[in-house]
């Protein structure tokens, strides 16, 4: 866009050629972005410093790099257990949410049946209700079902966070597909379940990936729900809650805390870096809709 600035006549006289301008913009942006993620860089650097050095060496490079912090965080602070708890909740909720949302979105996007529009209206109506409003009944329901203290309960309730958005995403995508798809498979004598599984779902791959990625982010980083469910049961903690309690339980161990944080942030950042496009398209889709 900086290119649009210069009228053709002035372009040769100006010392700021478009190329040079872009170069300067890039340098400024690069410096800004490094400052932007400085807290995360500092976190990783600190996780490799022994505790004694943390207070004395403000620089980035540790004088005596060590993995001890990771060892302490992984075993003594129970990050190992929390890691696998989080993994279980994330993978389970991603599987359930994706299948449930795809099935529901397919029906709502392509079929006519009694009650469809009231149902859509009801779902849109609940789109923005805050978690603080639903947490007490959710916990009460899980307790009634005998799941109030279990990872299964946590996993199921985690599915609820964005289910409406995901159903609407699928519905919007399926609506645009041509009618002939189902007609062709009906002529071939293929049943509705097989049509969905072998024809429609593969065509919706971009939405499937978006939902998988967004639900992973949601489940991995969730805080209020796992906090409430694990209040009486520390063994069920997820990484987020584990780090939160770490702060209260071992406050002097900064190095361990930073190692635990790096463990918690690592997988989700890697997922983001590999599937960037889907994270960004998925989120941007919310605005267009």
């Amino acid at each position: 866009m900086s290119d649009a600035a210069l009228p053709p006549g002035r372009m040769r006289q100006s010392i700021f050629t478009p190329r040079r301008k872009r170069f300067i913009t890039s340098i400024v942006l690069a410096v800004m972005c490094v400052i932007w993620i400085y807290p995360l860089i500092w976190m990783i650097a600190a996780s490799f410093k022994p505790n004694s050095e943390l207070f004395t060496n403000p620089g980035m490079i540790p004088n005596r790099p060590t993995f001890e912090n990771y060892g302490r965080a992984w075993t003594e602070a129970n990050m190992q257990r929390y890691f696998f708890n989080t993994l279980f909740v994330t993978v389970g909720s991603v599987l359930i949410t994706t299948i449930a949302a795809a099935l529901g979105g397919y029906v709502l996007g392509r079929r006519e049946f009694p009650g469809k529009w009231p149902l859509m209206g009801l779902m849109v109506f609940t789109l923005f209700i805050p978690q603080g409003y639903t947490i007490i009944p959710v916990f009460q329901l899980l307790t009634t079902l005998g799941l109030g203290q279990s990872l299964w309960g946590l996993m199921l309730a985690t599915c609820g966070h964005s289910i409406v958005i995901f159903i609407l995403l699928f519905a919007g995508y399926f609506t645009q597909m041509p009618r002939e798809l189902e007609e062709a498979s009906r002529m071939d004598g293929v049943g509705p379940v097989k049509t969905f599984w072998y024809v429609m779902l593969p065509l919706a791959k971009p939405i499937v990936v978006t939902v998988v990625v967004m639900q992973s982010l949601q489940a991995w980083n969730d805080f209020l729900l796992p906090l409430v469910i694990t209040l009486a049961n520390p063994a069920m903690r997820t990484l987020s809650v584990g780090i939160y309690s770490f702060k209260g339980e071992h406050f002097v161990d900064w190095g361990g805390m930073m190692a635990a944080s790096t463990i918690a942030i690592g997988p989700i950042v890697l997922l983001f870096l590999f599937l960037q496009r889907y994270f960004i398209d998925g989120l941007a889709g919310a605005v267009k809709g």
């Binding site: 890039s26 807290p39 359930i96 009694p114 009944p137 309730a157 805080f223 409430v228 987020s240 939160y244």
Partner: protein, 320 residues
């Protein structure tokens, strides 16, 4: 009701409602998993919260008693509730404009298709968005610590302050510090929204402006901004709602302290329901009533904004 009678009438044209439902049985079967999740964790809690808010209920598994609207009456005289409610909306007003302006400025710069590293910069700005809030909180507590924290170290070394500032420990500053952290964490998402909005500006407009020798800032002010302005309402709505749901950041950073000075609505609800101070019972009914008022306020805000979106769209349609 209107919807139901509408369906009944339509049904009368051909098959009866019962026949039509039977014909669609496979559709309902497909809907079951999604509706189970939706019903159990969204719809039922929404209804149940109303009921719970009329109870005197001191803990899960404890006996509860119907007390009508007494919880609401008590809330109206509860200073903590008022302050938390006000603080939630203050927090929203303090963060949303910054987040939107910073996001828009970054989006305009990064939208330049000749900028080769744009995706790398976008990813870097987006990194805090994908980071767990609990991690952000703990890193910020350490970085801003008045005892050997690197930020204070830097400020003292450069003589910007004479002694360490406790940004998260001072009742006057804590909410603003948290607002700053919040804006930093979530600007990446606003940036992505704006970038999506900027895709609706046709390339030809830039080219035409370039040929006419129009300056960059004029292009932005007179061409780009008017085109993306309608998106501002939607982006503003999403940002406002997320600013009201700030529980994780605040609970993990300050737990509402010091002296309740950063206690927003959801922290208040959590404290009342799950983490009462020692010697007190959890008050689930009372917390539900607070939750209902908060939820209804957010819904009202949503409806207002949706009306605003409709208005803007209609105006656009008239102009075109």
């Amino acid at each position: 009701m209107a919807a139901i009678s509408h369906i009944l009438e339509r049904g009368a044209e051909g098959a009866t409602l019962g026949q039509r439902i039977w014909k669609s049985r496979i559709d309902y079967l497909f809907l079951i998993p999604g509706m189970l999740v939706f019903g159990a964790f969204i719809f039922w809690p929404m209804i149940a919260s109303f009921y719970y808010s009329t109870l005197d209920w001191t803990g899960f598994g404890a006996h509860s008693e119907f007390i009508g609207l007494a919880n609401y009456a008590e809330l109206l005289n509860d200073e903590f509730f008022y302050s938390a409610f006000k603080r939630s909306f203050l927090f929203m007003l303090a963060t949303v404009p910054f987040q939107m302006i910073v996001g828009l400025m970054l989006a305009i710069v990064l939208n330049n298709k000749f900028l080769k590293l744009a995706t790398v910069f976008r990813a870097m700005i987006f990194l805090p968005v994908v980071s767990p809030v609990a991690v952000i909180a703990i890193v910020m507590v350490l970085m801003l610590s008045p005892f050997n924290g690197p930020i204070n170290g830097f400020l003292i070394e450069t003589h910007l302050v004479s002694r360490a500032v406790d940004l998260l420990g001072s009742p006057q500053m804590v909410l603003w510090t948290l607002a700053g952290i919040f804006v930093w964490k979530w600007t990446g998402i606003t940036l992505v929204y704006w970038l999506a909005a900027l895709q609706t500006v046709p390339d030809e407009l830039y080219e035409a402006a370039k040929l006419d020798g129009v300056k960059t800032w004029q292009v932005i002010m007179h061409i780009v901004l008017p085109i993306v302005a309608p998106f501002a309402v939607v982006i503003g709505l999403i940002s406002a709602i997320s600013a009201l749901n700030v529980f994780p950041l605040i609970q993990a950073t300050t737990q509402g302290g010091p002296f309740f000075s950063s206690e927003v609505m959801e922290v208040y609800i959590f404290r009342t329901a799950f983490a009462p101070s020692s010697g007190q019972f959890p008050r689930l009914g009372y917390a539900s009533a607070a939750g209902v008022i908060f939820g209804l306020s957010i819904m009202a805000l949503t409806i207002l904004q949706v009306i605003a979106v409709r208005r803007v769209r209609r105006k656009e349609a008239e102009n075109v």
